[in-house]
């Protein structure tokens, strides 16, 4: 065995979960290397530069925000486990977010990092439901959401025991599903609990410089703990023998060995790397590719959104139809519902504003209808859908006022630059099959695979959001490797 290419642990993917696992393992003396195919770390929550501007991809807001002194929550666990001082993330809180339903957002529930706001909104808009809502919240608080072996149950079924008004049910599900559900129409109750706490009981925050701040902290901790990292060098094959991973073939053709392999690239994606002489027969572990993919548009504005009258909402979850449809999109994009994020509308402190306005919209999209288009059609379709998404989203914001003595204000006049990602972009840069940001609908809490020393972390292990992703890496490193001594 060549010791230069042998690791205690090899980690596939330098996203949030892989880096967090790497920090734990390196901190406790394991020889660990992270292999990442892309040139940038971050995975599904990364960043890029285009025409001199820096963009975040994925992250609207860091969920799970709690203020200093609030203990026993995922953010606190994460900071402790990774030895991160919360000031290093420099999180700034949201102003206020809104769930807006109806063709023009006629029914709205506002929420913020103070849960009392949402509770008051439900009491005011759905007075007959408030007792049920409080019972639901009590059930959510009582649920052990970090258990690795909780039985699966339908979240819709549990919520309907407490809430009998379908509109309120859909309004509560909309943000929870958009920010993490890999399942169409419904989700597993444990997943619902994680997201309900992350969004409503805890809250949203963002570093002034966006997701790169968080990634930089993780990279620095990992390096300081002695972890190795190889970029632009993915794993293309996992050789297996006798039910164990015995070697990894890298993109450059070289081979490394490891006692343990932790894969953050998704369950079906990991499975597809395994090559064995005899095909393992285990129908229980058959894994499906997720159905849910998204498009996102980013519009850079020459002014603060507040100047357009859009200064109060941080994130808006909208839906124009009688029911909320969270499912594989029939058309290229489903503009009936979506999420608007205005990163300028976090509280960065007095006089501290982002240099330009940013307006982001996310909608459900069809991977199949984007994946195989000829380039010219793909570009034309992006332009067409960009415009359709803006039209749909702007129904949920105040109309732009006219300049004094000038023509009516328009959003287009303020636009400096635009960009858009599609399901095809997601698969190209993250390797997630089907452009499925939230991975497979089947989650695997214990992270086990068909191979005894190969484990999953990240999206398909099932802790959601970026805090969840990091906790997933931590939990799997603890459970499968560190606790075993």
């Amino acid at each position: 065995m060549n010791s230069a290419s042998h690791y205690d642990v090899a980690i596939i993917g330098a996203g949030m979960s892989g880096l967090a696992a790497g920090i734990r393992l390196a901190h406790f003396g394991r020889k660990v290397c992270v292999f990442e195919r892309h040139n940038a770390p971050g995975g599904l929550n990364s960043f890029y530069s285009l025409a001199g501007r820096r963009y975040d991809v994925g992250l609207h807001a860091m969920t799970n925000f709690v203020r200093p002194g609030v203990k026993g929550t995922p953010l606190g666990k994460l900071l402790r486990q990774l030895r991160i001082d919360r000031d290093e993330f420099a999180l700034c809180e949201q102003r206020q977010s809104r769930v807006a339903f109806g063709p023009h957002g006629e029914t709205a529930l506002c929420f913020s990092n103070d849960f009392a706001l949402l509770e008051g909104e439900v009491a005011q808009k759905f007075p007959a439901q408030i007792d049920g809502f409080r019972r639901l919240v009590a059930a959510v608080r009582a649920y052990d959401d970090v258990s690795l072996d909780a039985p699966a149950e339908s979240a819709r079924a549990v919520v309907r025991r407490h809430i009998t008004e379908p509109l309120l049910e859909d309004m509560l599900f909309c943000p929870v599903m958009y920010y993490g559900s890999a399942t169409e129409h419904d989700m597993e109750f444990g997943q619902f609990v994680i997201m309900f706490k992350a969004l409503y009981l805890e809250g949203f925050a963002r570093p002034f410089d966006g997701v790169r701040v968080i990634i930089r902290v993780l990279l620095e901790k990992f390096r300081a703990a002695g972890g190795e990292r190889r970029m632009k060098c993915g794993v293309r094959r996992i050789a297996a023998r006798d039910g164990r991973a015995i070697a990894l073939t890298l993109d450059d053709g070289s081979e490394v060995t490891a006692d343990h392999v932790l894969s953050s690239i998704g369950a079906p994606e990991t499975e597809s790397l395994i090559s064995t002489q005899s095909k393992i027969q285990n129908p229980k572990l058959e894994i499906s590719v997720g159905a849910l993919s998204f498009v996102e548009t980013i519009t850079v504005l020459d002014c603060q959104p507040a100047a357009l009258g859009w200064g109060s909402d941080t994130i808006i979850f909208f839906n124009d139809s009688p029911r909320f449809h969270y499912a594989r999109s029939e058309e290229q994009v489903d503009t009936r519902s979506g999420v608007i994020c205005i990163p300028n509308n976090f509280d960065y402190g007095p006089g501290r504003v982002l240099p330009e306005g940013i307006f982001r919209c996310t909608c459900l999209a069809s991977y199949e209808r984007w994946a195989h288009l000829p380039d010219a059609t793909y570009r034309a379709d992006k332009l067409r859908w960009y415009a359709a998404i803006q039209r749909s989203a702007q129904r949920y914001l105040p109309p732009i006022p006219a300049a004094p003595g000038g023509p009516p204000g328009t959003f287009t006049r303020a636009t400096l630059a635009t960009d858009m990602f599609t399901p095809r972009t997601i698969t190209k840069f993250t390797g997630h099959l089907g452009g499925a940001i939230y991975g497979s609908p089947v989650k695997n809490r214990q992270g086990r695979t068909v191979l005894a020393n190969l484990y999953l972390c990240g999206t398909d292990q099932g802790f959601l959001g970026i805090v969840g992703a990091m906790l997933s890496g931590i939990s799997m490193a603890n459970y499968h490797i560190l606790q075993k001594g």
């Binding site: 200093p68 026993g72 666990k77 603890n478």
Partner: protein, 85 residues
């Protein structure tokens, strides 16, 4: 190593893994869980930091011995002494 020093070793570890806890008034004879917000992940870290920093092994069956500072000192001091510390 005295029992007092041993208590301090454990406190130093807790200070590093849970910097958001106030350790100025920790009662040595009261369970740590009852006066600090420490969960099973944190106790695992105490065990692993003992191994990393001091070469002390605490088998899983003995985790309960770390319930309080006093019980930790009773349990760990002979282990430190055995290592010549």
């Amino acid at each position: 190593m005295t029992k007092d020093e041993c208590r301090q070793v454990v406190l130093d570890i807790i200070a590093d893994i849970a910097p958001d806890e106030d350790l100025s008034n920790v009662k040595p004879d009261v369970r740590l869980r009852d006066q600090l917000q420490l969960d099973s992940m944190d106790f695992l870290d105490i065990v692993m930091e003992l191994r990393k920093r001091h070469g002390i092994e605490v088998p899983e069956a003995d985790y309960l011995q770390l319930a309080s500072l006093d019980s930790s000192a009773e349990y760990l001091t002979p282990k430190f002494v055995a290592l010549g510390k």
